[in-house]
Amino acid sequence: MNLSQYQLRSMYRTMVSIRTFEETVKQAFAKGHIPGFVHLYVGEEAIATGVCSALRPSDTITSTHRGHGHCIAKGCDMNSMMAEIYGKATGLCKGKGGSMHIADVGKGMLGANGIVGGGPPLACGAGLTSQVTGSGDVCACFFGDGACEQGTFHESANLAAIWNLPVIFVAENNGYAQSTPASYHCAIENIAERAASYGIPGAVVDGSDVFAVHEAAVEAVKRARAGQGPSLLECKTYRHHGHFEGDQQTYRMISTRAYPRARIPSGISGPWSPSTAGSPRRSWMPSTGRPGRPLKKHWPTPNPVPCPRWKRSPATSTSVTRS
């Protein structure tokens, strides 16, 4: 992976912008300045950043209820975003949408979405537009681990596969759907293995490693742009705060007993800074917390490799190419 100084700086800026933006929102919410529901992206910055830095401006993304990070990474204006979250007429959506519906279609940001599982069908549509118009654009579809149990994800993955759409499904597995641990709501350990059901490539990456995410995204984007169809990229991450602001997380006092502590995305609190970024891979390593379960990264290799039989633990990653 060759990243220019410019790219490195820009990724760093995006990660820090997201973090700063979210902490600002958090404080404003605590003071009662922000109405409605607010879901923070703190801790997951490396995913939006790593994926969107692999996109070009005319590419599109679909997002979730936890969408601020995706917006920022796709280039939405942060002042207009904040105005929207406050419900002002000067907001990106004139105050009509709010945090859960920030969008900037002109920037390829097709909307945060209050409906879990709302994004995947829309992403297929964006992929279809690209295919029909021949624009060569791709669509990255962000969704949570909870959304993987929505039928829309499965239907869309199959549709994208048979229509060979340029869609990258990005599962942000932060271990929770509200209070419900992924270990409960999902019958298997790695969402990426579900790629095999649709004959598309699937990969698991460390979602706190922006380079790992970026590298995998670049590969998926390349495939999609080359007409090789969709991919499924699972990013293992961790939700630092409550599900929404105000969430007391009593349930987490229970279940974190068995859950690794938060891993701070590389680059934000780590020793690395853009000016010293000679060897990003090393300096952006997760800088704090226990490493949790080891995550392996596999992206499809040209030659078939045996797909290991799934076991609940330890985690393995899949690598299945549609033949």
């Binding site: 599109t60 679909t62 907001g91 990106l92 959506c93 004139k94 105050g95 009509k96 949408g97 519906h101 969008a103 900037d104 279609v105 002109g106 097709l110 909307g111 979405n113 209050g114 409906i115 599982g117 709302g118 995947p120 069908p121 829309l122 992403a123 297929c124 549509g125 964006a126 279809l128 537009t129 690209s130 295919q131 029909v132 118009t133 039928g151 829309t152 239907e155 869309s156 199959n158 549709l159 048979i162 229509w163």
Partner: protein
């Protein structure tokens, strides 16, 4: 395939096909998708014109002319492909998706309730969603409870959707063309028993504006209002009533949402009496809605209680005997009108 430039008599199915064909020729951004709408042609042998063209044959021959890139068979994944149509519309295409039966709304409501209808508003007006969803409504085919529904009240209750339901071949062509060109999501309702109904249809471009009801028959004694097949029932009933000396004005609603309240009110102002015929279930349905609008905005013109002929509030039965008893028909309309006209103000 050549499309006539002069008016001729064709079926509703042919009129719909003609509308789609002409629009697809004019606008490369139009794609159509749905289960079996190409119909078996997607794998090989595209040159073969034997492809099904949808369960009702409406899209027959389109894959032949426009190719697989623009005529897309879908898996049975209504949530994904109706949602994809919405997403494609939001990013620049102008898709026409077929939801085979309106009862399958159960499998894809989110795309319409929470996405398609709301994006433009939620995004502060910065998105348009020019998608047309063609779907089948109505009973009479002995298709039973899940396949004989008339769900435009549910569609109409969703702000941001337009809902259209033609009653004849010319309107079918003209309203579908208007729907395809509309920048908002339109639900286009086709009655299952009407595809073979013939009528004179203008050749070439033909547009009937959305949101404008038609006075299908002028009259002075009572206003009779229907939509889709019930507009036909109303016209038939009016013929019978004319013989008995009752001169009914018939309004063919054409569009359920937005509702053309003005045309309705104008007619009621003239006749003072109103009978509404509707195939949908009555509770929070279309008939009572219109009655309510008139009770609010046209109260002083009303000289008798509003009459309503609707399905009962029950699922559609399978048995032909029961289904016939269930559905509105001209005889029921005639009785309702007579009752309304017998009531003094």
């Amino acid at each position: 395939m050549a499309v006539a430039t002069a008016a001729r008599t064709i079926t509703i199915a042919e009129a719909l096909n003609e509308s789609i064909r002409l629009e697809m020729r004019a606008d490369p951004k139009i794609v159509i998708m749905g289960e079996d709408i190409a119909g078996g042609a997607q794998v090989e042998h595209l040159e073969d014109d034997e492809a099904w063209g949808g369960v009702m044959g409406v899209t027959k021959g389109l894959v032949h002319e426009f190719g697989r890139e623009r005529v897309l068979d879908t898996p049975i994944s209504e949530a994904a492909f109706i949602g994809a149509a919405v997403g494609a519309a939001a990013t620049g295409l102008r898709p026409i998706a077929e939801l085979m039966f309106c009862g399958f709304l159960g499998s894809c409501l989110d795309s319409l309730l929470n996405q398609g209808s709301k994006l433009r508003y939620m995004f502060g007006g910065k998105a348009t969603v020019p998608v047309t969803i063609r779907t089948m409504i109505g009973g009479g085919f002995r298709a039973a409870a899940q396949h004989a529904q008339t769900l435009y009240p549910m569609f109409a209750n969703i702000p941001g959707l337009k809902v259209v339901a033609p009653s004849n071949a010319a309107d079918a062509k003209g309203l579908l063309t208007a729907s395809i060109r509309d920048d908002d999501p339109v639900i286009f309702c086709e009655h299952i028993t009407m595809y073979t109904l013939k009528g004179e249809v203008p050749g070439g471009e033909h547009i009937v504006p959305i949101g404008k009801a038609a006075v299908a028959r002028p009259g002075s004694d009572v206003t009779l209002l229907g939509v889709s097949l019930t507009a036909v029932h109303a016209l038939n009933a009016a013929e019978t009533l004319a013989k008995e000396g009752i001169d009914a004005e018939v309004i063919d609603l054409r569009t359920v949402s937005p509702l053309d309240e003005e045309t309705i009110l104008e007619s009621v102002k003239k006749t003072g009496r109103l009978v509404i015929v509707d195939e949908a279930n009555p509770l929070c349905g279309l008939a009572s809605h219109i009655a309510g609008v008139v009770a609010s905005r046209g109260f002083h013109w009303l000289r008798a209680p509003v009459g309503m002929v609707t399905a009962p509030h029950s699922p559609v039965p399978f048995s032909p005997v029961l289904e016939d008893a269930y559905l509105p028909n001209p005889q029921k309309v005639v009785s309702a009108v007579k009752e309304t006209c017998s009531k003094a103000s």
